[in-house]
Symmetry: C2
Subunit: 370 residues, 2 copies
């Protein structure tokens, strides 16, 4: 579709055009069961209703809605995957109910308003990909008053964590910088060009790459060092674009007693861990028959394809049990690609929730999603 910019297609939509990638999402059991349950345990919301599936991909959610008794499902998909969704709907005998439309939702026109909007729009740390924008557009343009959104609510979390990754990346960066020194020397001796003037730039580039890139990780619950803080809590029925374009939040996470049982021990906070959950609660005026939660927090043995987002903290912060890791977080969109996020955190250890008790100034950390 021509309303997608070239670079957005190159950067973002491109991967969704591969069935291989859609398959990876279809293999995410926790994700799949949450959506399935939210539909089939809340059938009354879908029976004889008109549904819009924003970003249908392989068509899975649209087909489920049809199977749950929808009268009509508009399934919109920006990539060529639309053709596969159409094939799949037909092969599963719901081709007369599911109408697949190869378009962006922004360019979509529908002959009627819809009773429900369903969408799997969540990216890493909830907001990466900025696809919630498309759901808001769809809601404002197509959802009947009092209609339902699936999911209906979403929250972002951060918590102090422990990870070996910080040490590993510090040492990988160290190797990269040592290698630069050698490279610089041999370039000078072999080719007579002195690269010294670029050393600082190279160091900055490597620091960005190793230390300031948000890391995808499968975090174990035992790696969490304290209470999680909610940094964003939204109701999809009412949320507006400005409320998600930038997130600015204060948080304070109390450190738990060490798992070793030694109370006096210093706790080393080597990362902040981020994740999200979404809830399927039905419509504003009509609660779900069965509320469903899709939570991507660290959990033993279960990991979604979102994993968790690790924000490496180096040098580490040290605190004692019952102290707080307090701070602020700013989540903004990258200037050169609105689907990627910049994150800035101010972090310090305080004795209570009130950061006035802080011993020193907070340390500032910058991160980029890639």
């Amino acid at each position: 579709p021509s309303d997608i910019t070239d670079s957005d297609f190159a950067n973002y939509f491109c991967t969704y055009g591969f069935l291989y990638h859609q398959k990876q999402m279809l293999e995410d059991t926790k994700r799949m069961r949450s959506y399935r349950d939210s539909i089939f345990l809340n059938k009354k919301f879908f029976q004889d209703k008109v549904v819009l599936d924003v970003g249908t991909g392989s068509g899975i959610l649209a087909i489920w809605c049809a199977q749950a008794g929808a009268r009509k499902v508009y399934a919109v998909e920006a990539t060529g995957m639309a053709a596969n969704a159409r094939v799949l709907a037909n092969a599963n005998n719901v081709g007369h109910i599911v109408e697949v439309i190869h378009s962006t939702v922004e360019a979509l026109e529908l002959p009627e308003k819809v009773d429900c909007i369903i969408s799997e729009w969540m990216g890493y740390f909830l907001l990466r990909e900025s696809m919630l924008d498309a759901v808001i557009v769809a809601r404002d343009k197509f959802l009947k008053p009092g209609g339902s959104l699936w999911p209906s609510h979403a929250r972002m979390y951060v918590a102090p964590a422990s990870t070996a990754m910080t040490h590993n990346k510090v040492s990988a960066r160290g190797h990269a910088l040592d290698d630069w020194e050698q490279f610089k020397q041999s370039t000078f001796s072999e080719y007579g060009v002195d690269l010294s003037a670029l050393s600082e730039y190279y160091e900055r580039e490597q620091t960005e790459y190793y230390m300031q890139t948000v890391q995808w990780a499968e975090v174990g619950p035992w790696q969490l060092l304290g209470k999680a803080a909610v940094i964003l809590d939204i109701d999809l029925a009412t949320v507006t674009l400005p409320e998600i374009t930038e997130v600015h939040s204060k948080f304070s996470c109390q450190l738990w007693p060490s798992q070793m049982g030694e109370e006096e021990e210093e706790i080393e906070v080597s990362a902040m861990c981020g994740w999200f959950d979404v809830t399927f609660k039905g419509a504003p005026g009509e609660p779900a028959t069965q509320e469903v939660l899709l939570c991507t927090a660290p959990e033993e043995g279960v990991c979604t394809h979102w994993g968790q987002s690790l924000f490496l903290v180096h040098p580490a912060l040290y605190g004692a049990a019952e102290e707080h890791v307090s701070g602020t977080i700013d989540v903004t969109r990258q200037k050169t690609n609105f689907r990627l996020l910049d994150v800035c955190m101010n972090l310090q250890v305080t004795s209570g929730k009130d950061d006035a008790t802080a011993a020193s100034k907070p340390a500032q950390f910058f991160y980029k999603f890639e």
Copy 2:
């Protein structure tokens, strides 16, 4: 610069903006020595001359030209790397000679014509990246009649080869397809959606990925099974855009006797291997003092960052020593990204150069660069 399309920047220029990537090119010893020698062993072409460096990157070639005595070097670079090139030229005391211009060469205006154009524009299999276009633009707009181009000539080659990669990729694709079967079954039993209708599409996607993607490889000379054929031979002084936008060539490569010495043995051709060379021969009317060759053919112990391009042949072709692997090759630009190439080959084994002797019809193979 605003004349680069968004997607071209996202897809192509983006990587060149990292010093890390420029460093990888600066570490390619064979590449570096060829350019250095071509400049310093042919100083008379540069002394007191005006030079244009198309795509200066870190600035290395421009600095060398200045060190070789150029009066003025215009060093044009599309990415933010331009700022580093400027710093480097200053730090190496040639800031008064090297003028770095942050622009595409297509948008460039210069106050004068130039005596030489130097550029390192070669991509995988010579033409990937389509950067030669920019050199042709620069030549037609800025080069004085009789001026010199560095390099001045370029050739593309193919040769029959043996590689374990073909077998590995065939088996990886097999695993992927087995996995799909399992995935299909569990999706049906767990979620009630039958994916069978997409099996064929998935198989095609996986075949493209595993078998039709051109593979970067470090090929050893012992993997070559026959004589190489030149499929393109260009003189940069005269080549025109249409001559490189599409390459259509016939070739015939005689198979060598088996290295095992057994003459009767069947030779298994499991790939075609592609590479290129460029030569620095000076100006049309003024041959180089010392001709320099930068060749990326398989060579023992030496590999450039270009490696070689492997086009997997499956099922393999079989021939005997002195028979020929004959065929045609078409190299075209991808519709969705002109910097990437599609390659189509027709291959057969013939007893002589003349493919009329072929036992059967040629087999057709399609490939994509990524």
